[in-house]
């Protein structure tokens, strides 16, 4: 059959090409779009600024599928031979996914003309059946994943996913034959390694699978491209332990590799002979259940190009490969089985900014979704105002301001009100930028439709829970994998020594359950652990520091100081005590490895979504400038003119504000009878600018002037800032060291 795959079928001019010498291949790469099909506001960090997305710290409107489609179309036109390959995780991350379950994402990729994509973990967020149905209906391109075995041996042909996934695909691009092999995610799909699992997927060993398919396609094609969602470290690991891959387009880490890495394959060396080799499963038949025997295969090290092109529709990567099968160019040791080798490469990253034109076809494709979303939910609804944004980054690796706020919102939610709350750090997907906080931003921050589950834990189980979190955190750079409220803890990533630590061992069983036997099987090593766990505080024990609570680290809770600036001493957990936990249903079901929660039989799913809890919590906040001392009903200082307000505040009342030439607002005249209220100037300006966007879409100056007059953004800004919650420290927007990390 393979011999029959002859080349031909060219329209005009009907010439068959046998490529020789140097040729060019351009790979256009998108990855981790995460449903950002419409442009969104992003506060630019330094990394994004260096890549040209915008000025650092400025909030700019980035992303959008129609802009990406323009770039893809333009770069295709500017390339000799081009393929657009997507790195997966196009699902989940913006409201459009919550309402349309991936249909819009697949339609957008199809409209862009994607040539292939790999399936990734978030494609399964609404289940395997949804994914296969959406692909069947909307995808016009092959979706690949070689490292999933999909068929249930007991019921052949029963897998829905097997209908829509293939291990690899191939293209003839102007005479150049290119294989694209997919490697789906293995690390982030809950319960993937449980057999059977909800998806019916059997994960296959990365290196063995990759080498199997390279060996399979190498005789058929000129170039072997892997599109993966394994993560950077596993991409490198796969390359180093295989031979024959030319290019890897990776995803999952949300990073841009600019420039791409060059990783040497066939990396193992026999110290005796100096010969390079890889290990492959022995071709000798092996009995079922027997450990796989590996044999060495000699090979020649080559440089493999590894590119990652970012996430959230912020970038499109273009990788230009100069390929050759001319031995004089490829160098000594060229093996014709490898077809064309990469002799040089260059990579360009295109930021998706406001300056990027939109592809009109894709705008039209997405328009029904936009209108439906408008009808379903007011994403522009303002929830609060964040004077300095809210960061999900934990400054010392423990608790983060946004994490604390989310956990507090769960903990204090009416009707939930547990002893403490815990949610996973990675579930918080984006910072809240400085400025007005919209419902859409909270969807972007909290895209998962997770609900809050309550359960009862004993003190021993609480310890077990935090021990697990400490161990998981230790393996992730000693950065806490959970965010908490109502509790305080020290995560010791260096490990807590036990009686077994340092003792000789052969397996983990020799180490008493807490320690683990190191990889060389020599001595028991202490594992990361949680110490100094406090749940709740003693109201009768004020403190200004840990030394007033016995001196243990974190024992004085200063997170919510009283009027005298005093905190309260925490209450250490009691092993036989009973504690009620609020967590997400994702973790409660064992997500992210929290088996300690999964096995709990007291679970009660409240059906209150985490996102809703956060929204409601925010909306209960007080506006910027609020103080009971102001003596007004709304807590804001009464005023007639700006001079009566603190620095940074302006006196706002209806009819007494006008726009400046630069779009900011200025008070115009006094508010009669101290009817005005002091509002944060930046809040008024930012909310006005937010509403002015409506006018910015006006097609003529006349329409703009009319819009500005009727809408009066400055007045809306001033009035809104009288009630919009100020998302600052008073609302829990701070990191207070409730989780201390030792050993970072």
């Amino acid at each position: 059959m393979l011999a029959g795959l002859a080349l031909g079928g060219c329209p005009e001019p009907a010439r068959t090409v046998e490529l020789a010498g140097q040729v060019r291949l351009t790979l256009l790469h998108t990855s981790d779009l995460h449903s950002r099909l419409f442009p969104y506001d992003l506060q630019i960090n330094q990394a994004d600024a260096k890549l040209g997305l915008g000025p650092v710290d400025r909030v700019v409107r980035v992303g959008g599928a129609a802009r990406i489609a323009h770039i893809i179309g333009r770069e295709r036109a500017r390339a000799d031979r081009a393929l657009h390959i997507d790195g997966g995780d196009s699902f989940q991350g913006a409201p459009i996914f919550n309402f349309f379950s991936g249909a819009a994402e697949l339609r957008a990729l199809s409209e862009m003309g994607a040539d292939a994509a790999v399936v990734a973990n978030h494609e399964f967020d609404v289940g395997g059946l949804n994914f296969s149905n959406q692909v069947s209906r909307w995808a016009t391109f092959p979706i690949v994943a070689a490292n999933y075995r999909l068929d249930d041996p007991a019921v052949p042909g029963s897998s829905q996913l097997a209908r829509v996934l293939s291990p690899w695909t191939a293209f003839n691009v102007d005479g150049l034959k290119v294989a694209v092999i997919g490697m789906g995610n293995l690390s982030s799909i809950t319960s993937l390694y449980e057999q059977p699992n909800r998806l019916g997927i059997t994960p296959l060993a990365t290196v063995d699978t990759a080498q199997f398919y390279v060996d399979l396609v190498r005789p058929l094609v000129d170039v072997v491209v892997f599109v993966t969602h394994l993560g950077l470290e596993y991409d490198e690991f796969m390359i180093r332990n295989t031979t024959g891959i030319d290019v890897v387009l990776g995803g999952h880490n949300h990073i841009v590799l600019q420039p791409p890495q060059h990783v040497t394959d066939c990396d193992r060396v026999d110290p005796a002979t100096g010969e390079h080799y890889i290990e492959v499963p022995s071709p000798e038949p092996q009995a079922p259940g027997e450990r796989i025997e590996y044999v060495r295969r000699p090979c020649r090290p080559r440089d493999v190009v590894l590119a990652h092109s970012g996430a959230f529709a912020k970038y499109v990567g273009r990788l230009d490969l100069a390929l050759s099968n001319d031995p004089s160019e490829v160098g000594a040791g060229y093996d014709p089985i490898n077809g064309f080798e990469v002799v040089a490469d260059q990579y360009t990253i295109f930021p998706v900014t406001e300056d990027t034109p939109e592809d009109p076809h894709l705008v039209n494709t997405l328009e029904p979704y936009r209108q439906s979303l408008d009808a379903l939910i007011d994403l522009e609804l303002l929830v609060g105002y964040a004077p300095a944004g809210v960061s999900r980054v934990a400054p010392a690796g423990g608790d983060s301001p946004l994490g604390n706020m989310v956990a507090t919102a769960m903990w204090l939610r009416q009707g939930i009100q547990t002893d403490f709350a815990l949610t996973n750090t990675q579930g918080i997907r984006a910072d809240i930028p400085t400025g007005p906080v919209t419902l859409e931003q909270l969807y972007n921050t909290f895209p998962f439709d997770n609900s809050i589950t309550k359960m009862q834990l004993s003190g021993v189980e609480v310890q077990e829970l935090f021990n697990f979190n400490a161990r998981r955190s230790a393996s992730r750079g000693c950065s806490s994998q959970a965010q908490i409220a109502g509790a305080r803890v020290v995560n010791d990533c260096l490990g807590c020594a036990t009686a077994f630590t340092g003792q000789p061992c052969a397996t983990d069983d020799d180490c008493g359950g807490s320690d683990r036997c190191d990889d060389d099987g020599r001595v028991c090593q202490a594992r990361a652990c949680a110490t100094d766990i406090y749940i709740g505080v003693n109201p009768d024990q004020p403190c200004a520091g840990d030394d007033q609570c016995g001196g243990r680290p974190g024992s004085c809770d200063l997170g919510s100081p009283d009027a005298q600036g005093q905190g309260r001493c925490g209450v250490p957990i009691d092993p036989i005590g009973n504690y009620e936990l609020a967590t997400s249903n994702y973790l409660a079901l064992g997500g992210s490895g929290f088996i300690v929660l999964k096995k709990n039989t007291t679970q009660f799913d409240t059906r209150v979504q985490q996102r809703d809890a956060l929204i409601d919590y925010m909306r209960q906040g007080k506006p910027c400038g609020y103080s009971e001392a102001n003596g007004t009903d709304d807590g804001l200082r009464a005023c007639s003119e700006d001079a009566e307000c603190e620095e940074g505040y302006a006196c706002a009342c209806t009819g007494r504000v006008a726009p400046r030439g630069d779009g900011t607002c200025q008070s115009a005249g006094a508010c009669e009878g101290a009817s005005g209220r002091c509002v944060l100037v930046r809040c008024r300006d930012d909310v006005a600018a937010f509403h002015r966007r409506t006018c910015n879409q006006a097609r003529s100056q006349e329409a703009y002037t009319s819009c500005e007059t009727q809408l009066n953004p400055c007045e809306i800004g001033g009035e809104s800032c009288k009630f919009l919650a100020c998302v600052d420290e008073r609302l829990g927007n701070f990191a207070d060291g409730r989780q201390r990390m030792v050993g970072r």
Partner: protein, 552 residues
Amino acid sequence: MSGGRRALARGLGFAAAALLAGSCVTRNGIETDTFRLRVSVARADGSALPGPEDEPLCLDLRGFNPACTEGGAFLVTVEAIDLFNERDLNFNGYARLSIRPGTLLAVEGDRAEGRNVRLEAGVAEAQLIRVTGAFGDTTVWADDLGYTPVDPAVLTPACSDSVDNDGDGFVDFPFDPDCAFANDDSETGGTYASGVSAPLRFRLPTVPEAQGLGAASPYDQEGVRLEATESRLMVSRIASDGFYVSDVEPVDPANPGGELRQKPYGGLFVFSFNLPPGIAVCDRVGELSGTMTEFFGFTELTFPGFKVSEPWFSLRDSGPCRLPTPALVEPGVLSSEDTASAFLEQYEGGLVRVGGVVTDPVGQPGKIDTVGVRVASIFGPELPEVLRQQAPAGDQCQFVYAVTFRPAASNCDLDGDGRVDFTPCSPENTCSQRCFDNPACSEWSSFRRVGNFRAQLGPSPLQTILLNTGTVGGFDPTRYRGALLPWVTGTLANFSGGPLNWTIETRCSEDLVLCNEGEDEAACLARFPTPPELGTTCTRERTATDNDSESQ
């Protein structure tokens, strides 16, 4: 049928359809036989380039190394080649030149136009290119973008004339994909034929060269492969988000057991986001590559690829760990910003230590100082007293603020929003500045955010340095407020995020030498007249960790 075979069959379903599709030679609809460009390069004097066995070309380090002239100019010939591997005599157009890695400064010659060369009858011969910043295997690229450069001051280019000249529905740059640039006088696009030269073989940069032998790397935002074969790159610290390497001077054959020194500018932080797997202190790194980045003034290598060539734990029986002796940061060098930055830049990313006993302090020969390192005595979470007053007339601020610190009150986050507002005239900025002016003061919110606190080496506000002891589990710096530490060792980081830039990050508890509780300071210092031996301090066997990132 086995699972593997079924998978094969599924794959072939897609693949067969693709491979049966035709292979066309249409070149973007343009009637040309040009299939690719051939790029040949020679030295500027016409001689051949070095081969794999020859001495490589020198590094100009973007001007940092003016002695390197041979690596800057080359002759390039570009030919249009047809399908039959012959010169396409009908090709008359421009090819755009570029180099990777490095920067093409200029193209000079009778066919040069900006960074383009004009091919006539399919060739542009011996055009001089000037390059900088090249290293390792560097290639010259030529691309037919369909670019016809014109001077907009002389002629309105077709790609800027508001006309859809080629009738494809797109008008001008950047909307018309066939416009390479705004000054392109052709909206018809190119053949996109291209070619690269054989590699020009430059030397690989060492760590000091990648550091730019100073404050800024000449390779900022560029991917580099560092020289790690001849150089001895030792891992000096493992951090939660990367590791540090030191480029160590060769062992003196006359004194093989003697002290080792780090080369000036030979320290480097390798940022890997997470705890780097399979690498430990004292390992020798045999391969190191990544993207050089200036992160707020701190030179680092990001997205690294690395390989341990000599894992120390497998060789530990053959001798002690051979890290370079940490450089001593004396109070004298911190007396002025110039001397401080000149000295500290040399050791950025390297091992340093502070403390101990200093003889012959600057300007006072013969005198002996006991210094140690004193933790700030004003250092705590409470808010200082801030008194607002009307600013005097003519002052640029409306208000001025008097700030009174107390031992436990150095928190300048006055409004409690989690960070200090550095806006001029703001009370928080004033508070922060006042704290900096007092060498005994360490601003609290900085410690709360990133774990850095200030320590004093001398009386001047400049004679202070930041310490980060987060790796020392039992050490709470607030309990040592105002206390003397005999010695502190660690790696030196630099962030231009405030008035204090330089931070010594301890690696483990052995890097922090403490006095006993209640011990007389002089007696304590006398107990530690010399710094602790580095030996095997802070070495810990590590194994590869799995990528266990989460889905949510």
